[in-house]
Every structure is written in structure tokens, then in C-alpha cells.
């Protein structure tokens, strides 16, 4: 038995997915203090863009037929377009509202996207086979691990490193960091608000598309509800990590992934269906101990 490396890889790959989703939410929160509940629906939208609109149980590939080299950039682009469009049509108009009103408008937008998908594709989960060969196990240090898990881990690393470089080395990155620190001041110093916010939404949407690709390959189903679950976890990760802190979001994403895999592995059998209840209890405990998050940036503390 090689349970420990197996668990390690499970934790890293699950955490990687959570971390990418959390990054998408934290990016937007950083620039406009919007808690974007529609993020999960961006993921669902990208998943369903892969298949032909129909209500059948087995999906016919639409975009999914394209070779990977075309498919991946195309889907990332779709994710970015959806996110930017939602900013243009909804969030731009509530930018000056209270954070609560913005949060509820994103909740409403998510509801609209979800029900539009429901209308077109019906609520039945569909079997999708995208790159099934990636689920074949390979053995590493004695544990047999699906190739996909390794790809997920490397993709997460790649995304985090690219994003870090983008934020630290490019002008738009600098502007985004400035906007996250103090949006009003940044605007006074010549940062173009619309460019920064649109950029953040585009990146966030592309991240949602990446998560969508990974989830479809991993689970082999397209389900309307798949976005909701991951969004909830991603939110919690951004709050635990400290709202607005990007490294915090990534770290907390991995932390939740690890906690969930460990609970799954070590809880007694009869308590396992309640795993999520334990997980969310841990979340509340963590919030109580560190209300501002584990890695809170200084700018989130309100000044009197």
C-alpha cells in the first residue's frame, strides 16, 4: 500500500483546482471589492460550450471536437469573453453601489446564466468524454496516479507563476496591484480604471475556463450544478486566505484541498457522507481564529 503518496497527489491536484478558482475570485475582489458569485457559472458555461446544445444524456462534442492545441486557447478566450461581457453589462453599472448590492447582483447574474444553460441543455448531467486517455494511471514513487493529476498540478504551478510574473513584471500587472491596494489613489495617479477592471475580468474568466477543462476531463460529465460546488469552496478559500490577497487565495485553496482529502481518507466510514459538514465547520473555526484571513493584506483593514 502506498496510501501516503496517493493522498499527497490527490490533495495537490484537488487543491490546485480550488486554488485556480479562488484566484479568479480574488483577482476581481482585489480591483473592485466585488464578491463574484457568478464565477461558478462561468465555469459551467465553459463546460457546456464544449458540447452541442441538446437535451440528450450523451453529449455530442461541439467545440470539444477541435484538437487540443486549438481547443485550449479557444476555451480560455470564451471564458474571458463571458467574464468581460458580464462586467460590461452588469457590474459596470453597480460599481459605485455597496459591496452587498454588488454581491447580490453577481448572485442574480449567476442565476440568470445557470437558468439559461438549463433552458438550452436541460438539467440532466451528460456524459462527456474529453481526452479520456489522460485518466490512465501512471506509476510514480510506487503510487498509481492518473496522468491528469500530474497535469493539474503542473498547470496550477504554471498558472500561478505566469500570473505572478504578469503582476510583478508588466505594466497592467503593476496597475492591478496598485488598484488592489487603493483604487481611488491609483485612479488619481493615472491608472485607467476600465482597462484594469476589464483585464482582471478577462484573467478571471480564463481561469474559470481552465478549471472547466480540468473538471470535465476528470469527471467525464457536464452538469449544470458543477460550478456551484467549486465556487462555494473557492469563495471560502479567498476569505480564509484574506480577501484580496492572491497568494493567500492560492495557499488557502491548497489548504482546503488537503483538508478535504485528509478528511475523506481518515474519517470513520459512517461519518464520511458528512465530510463537507466537517470541512465547513473547520472553515468557520478558521474564520473565528483569524477573521481577516490567514494572509490578510494590510489594505483590507478598514480605516476609521
Amino acid at each position: 500500500m502506498n496510501a501516503i503518496p496517493q493522498l499527497l497527489f490527490d490533495a495537490l491536484s484537488l487543491g490546485g483546482i480550488y486554488a485556480m478558482a479562488a484566484l479568479g475570485i480574488a483577482l476581481i475582489f482585489g480591483v473592485m471589492k466585488l464578491v463574484n458569485f457568478a464565477h461558478g457559472e462561468y465555469i459551467a458555461f465553459c463546460v457546456f460550450a464544449l458540447i452541442v446544445p441538446s437535451t440528450d444524456a450523451v453529449a455530442v462534442m461541439f467545440l470539444g471536437k477541435a484538437p487540443a492545441i486549438l481547443l485550449i486557447p479557444m476555451l480560455l478566450l470564451i471564458g474571458a469573453v463571458v467574464a468581460v461581457a458580464s462586467e460590461f453589462f452588469v457590474f459596470r453599472h453597480v460599481r459605485n453601489a455597496t459591496p452587498v448590492a454588488m454581491m447580490i447582483s453577481s448572485f442574480a447574474l449567476g442565476f440568470v446564466i445557470q437558468n439559461t444553460l438549463l433552458l438550452i441543455y436541460s438539467s440532466r448531467p451528460k456524459a462527456v468524454s474529453l481526452w479520456p486517455e489522460l485518466n490512465q494511471p501512471v506509476s510514480i514513487i510506487g503510487a498509481s496516479i492518473p496522468l491528469l493529476q500530474i497535469i493539474v498540478i503542473f498547470t496550477t504551478l504554471l498558472v500561478v507563476v505566469t500570473l505572478a510574473l504578469l503582476l510583478k513584471r508588466t505594466r497592467i500587472g503593476l496597475e492591478m496591484r496598485a488598484a488592489a491596494e487603493n483604487f481611488t489613489m491609483a485612479r488619481l495617479l493615472g491608472v485607467r480604471a476600465n482597462v484594469v477592471i476589464t483585464g482582471a475580468f478577462a484573467l478571471s474568466g480564463a481561469l474559470a475556463a481552465a478549471v472547466a477543462l480540468i473538471m470535465v476531463t476528470q469527471t467525464g460529465v457536464a452538469d449544470i450544478r458543477m460550478g456551484g460546488q467549486i465556487m462555494l469552496v473557492a469563495f471560502i478559500a479567498t476569505v480564509i486566505g484574506g480577501l484580496g490577497s492572491l497568494p493567500g487565495a492560492v495557499a488557502a485553496g491548497f489548504l482546503i484541498g488537503a483538508a478535504s482529502v485528509i478528511l475523506q481518507g481518515f474519517l470513520p466510514l459512517e461519518a464520511r457522507p458528512f465530510r463537507d459538514a466537517f470541512l465547513y465547520t473547520l472553515v468557520i473555526v478558521s474564520l473565528l481564529l483569524r477573521p481577516d484571513g490567514l494572509f490578510a493584506p494590510r489594505s483590507t483593514k478598514p480605516r476609521v
Binding site: 464578491v35 452588469v90 453599472h93 453597480v94 453601489a97 455597496t98 459591496p99 452587498v100 448590492a101 454581491m103 447580490i104 447582483s105 448572485f107 442574480a108 447574474l109 442565476f111 440568470v112 437558468n115 439559461t116 438549463l118 433552458l119 456551484g228 462555494l232 469563495f235 471560502i236 476569505v239 480577501l243 457522507p273 458528512f274 465530510r275 463537507d276 459538514a277 465547513y280 465547520t281 472553515v283 468557520i284 474564520l287 473565528l288 477573521p291 481577516d292 484571513g293 476609521v304
Partner: protein, 342 residues
């Protein structure tokens, strides 16, 4: 001076009276003019009034958006089912109930009250932890609470029936019973909002720091309002179960959370009138859309909206209201009579 104060108190009390009058007129109109399905819709609407006004007691006064109230609703609904279902049925479908509950066969009214009390008790425990947080962290924590309740109720096979529905509840919650509870809830909400605790809490909603500096213990008042609020959402849950006759954990998750928040936001979070009017307006729109989904005959042709269009339109209405009138349709104002001249 004392005179104007008295007048203000009196005129504040005219709000719940007017709102209850509106609810009574609504119920009478539906009962007289409508058919059976419309009467059922009225009962559902009044249950939503009970729920949303209960939710408002916390959200409206504290300013913290709660995503967790559907959880208190689930707790109330299942508690009432445990207390009122016939013991033979419980033995068959819910075999792991504690002996006391397994043999209980209560009258529906005390069962509804106890269901509310259980929800309030859970609110006391969960709120004691969650309300130490503030702002968005508190909202996310209420979301975590909802997810906990949902996970427990949809996995605890022998006690809640898990994802297979609990059936056979007496369907006593018609439009008159629900009208009674909705009125009680409106009265209680007005009483709380005008009580010392409610006023202190609203002061903290407007300015946390200033309220803190004036010696208001924000945590305590938030907890009090959450407990009161959870009692009525628990009762709304019990009524919900006894109106449909069927319980399923999925009825108490994101769908109901969204639609009730939508009603509160469309009406206006800031006022009790907003909470009641939001429910009435959106419920009427939903009913109209549902009928349009079934098909509308104009001349010889039948026009029907595609199924599911109703949710999309509700979402769009909500976004438009948020963009055009961020404080909701009532804009935080109350419906009230001016008693005595100025």
C-alpha cells in the same frame, strides 16, 4: 416635544397594521376570485412573506446579508415533520429517530412553535460563532452554515430520509393559516425594529464605529435579532412542509436562498414594507410567468414562454432593480399613516 415623540411611535405602529391589511385584502381577493391552484399560490406566497419578513428581522436591521436562513427553514420543516408524522410512517421511513420523536404525534400548532424554537436555538449556537465576524466574512460564514445544514440533512439517511423525500405530512397550511402566521411575523418584526435592541442594531448598521463608541454592544444585538429571525424562518419551514406535504433537502438550498434574497432586494432591504411588498410583487410576477409558460391563448394561436424562462426573467428584473434603484423599490421608506397633524 413629548407629543411629537408619541405621534412618531404611533405612526410607526401604523406600518404593520397597513401591511397586514394589504395581506388580508390579497388573500380575500385570491380566495374569492381565484380557483384552487390560485389559493395554493396564495398560501405559498404567505409562507414566503413569513420567511422573508423573518429574514428581514436580521438582514434589514443588521445590514449583514445572510445566506444561511434557508438552513433554519430546513431545521424547522424537518422538526415539524418529526413531531407530527404518524409513528408507523416514521418507523418505516425514518427508522433511526430517537424514541421520543419516533412516538410523538403532536398537534400541528405546538409542533410549528417548537420547530421555530429549535431553529432559534440552533441560531443561538451558530450565531454565537458566526456573528463574531463582520461584513463579508460573516456572509461567507452563513453560507458555510447553509452548506453544513444541507450536507447533514441530505446524508442522514435514518433521521431525515436523506435525498429521498419525506412524504405524508398533513397539508393543513392553507391560505388562512399562513395568513395568520404571516401577520404575526409582520407584527413581531415591527415590534423588534422599534424595540431598544432593534434601534441599537440599526444604529450599528449605519455606522459601526459610531455605534460602538456610543456603547452599543453590536454582537449582542445581532445575536438577539438572529434568534428572533430564525424562529420565524423555522416556522415558515414548518408551514412549507405542511403546505406541500413533501420534504426534500434540495428545497432548502440555493434556489430558495436566491429567490428570497431577490424578493428582499427588489422590495428594499432597508424597510419592513420593502420585505412584504417585494414578496407580493415578485410572487405575482412569478405566477404570471408560470402561467405564460403553460401557454397563453390569444385569438387562435397559443403563445408559450419556454420552460425555465421564468427564472431568467426574475434574475434580470433583480439586476435591473439593483442598477436602477439600488435601495430597492421602496428605497428604505416605510408605509405609514401620519397620525395627528404636524
Amino acid at each position: 416635544m413629548a407629543q411629537t415623540h408619541k405621534q412618531k411611535r404611533l405612526s410607526a405602529w401604523s406600518t404593520p397594521v397597513l401591511l397586514i391589511a394589504i395581506l388580508v385584502v390579497f388573500t380575500l381577493l385570491v380566495t374569492i376570485l381565484g380557483d384552487k391552484s390560485l389559493a395554493r399560490m396564495a398560501a405559498q406566497t404567505l409562507i414566503r412573506v413569513t420567511f422573508v419578513v423573518g429574514l428581514w428581522i436580521f438582514v434589514g436591521n443588521s445590514g449583514i446579508v445572510s445566506f444561511g436562513h434557508a438552513g433554519y427553514m430546513a431545521i424547522g420543516a424537518y422538526c415539524s415533520a418529526w413531531l407530527t408524522l404518524r409513528p408507523q410512517m416514521k418507523g418505516m421511513f425514518l427508522p433511526d429517530l430517537w424514541p421520543f420523536l419516533a412516538t410523538a404525534e403532536w398537534h400541528v400548532l405546538p409542533a410549528a412553535v417548537v420547530s421555530g424554537l429549535l431553529a432559534a436555538f440552533i441560531a443561538l449556537i451558530s450565531g454565537a460563532a458566526i456573528l463574531r465576524l463582520s461584513g463579508i466574512a460573516a456572509s461567507i460564514a452563513t453560507f458555510a452554515f447553509l452548506a453544513i445544514v444541507y450536507t447533514v440533512y441530505s446524508s442522514w439517511e435514518g433521521v431525515t430520509g436523506a435525498t429521498s423525500s419525506v412524504v405524508g405530512l398533513t397539508r393543513y397550511a392553507d391560505q388562512w393559516v399562513t395568513l395568520g402566521w404571516a401577520s404575526v411575523t409582520v407584527l413581531a418584526a415591527a415590534w423588534y425594529a422599534n424595540s431598544a435592541s432593534g434601534l441599537a442594531l440599526r444604529a450599528s448598521r449605519e455606522d459601526e464605529v459610531a455605534a460602538d463608541a456610543s456603547g452599543i454592544n453590536m454582537y449582542r444585538h445581532r445575536l438577539i435579532s438572529l434568534v428572533v429571525s430564525a424562529f420565524f424562518t423555522g416556522v415558515a419551514g414548518a408551514l412549507f412542509g405542511h403546505s406541500l406535504g413533501v420534504l426534500n433537502p434540495n428545497s432548502f438550498y440555493l434556489g430558495v436562498t436566491f429567490i428570497t434574497l431577490a424578493m428582499l432586494v427588489v422590495g428594499g432591504i432597508g424597510s419592513l414594507t420593502g420585505a412584504v411588498m417585494g414578496v407580493l410583487i415578485l410572487s405575482i410576477i412569478i405566477e404570471a410567468l408560470v402561467r405564460m409558460e403553460r401557454g397563453l391563448e390569444i385569438g387562435e394561436a397559443t403563445y408559450a414562454l419556454p420552460t425555465g424562462a421564468q427564472e431568467i426573467i426574475i434574475g434580470i428584473i433583480m439586476i435591473l432593480v439593483l442598477i436602477l434603484r439600488p435601495a430597492g423599490l421602496t428605497g428604505g421608506r416605510e408605509l405609514r399613516l401620519r397620525i395627528g397633524g404636524r
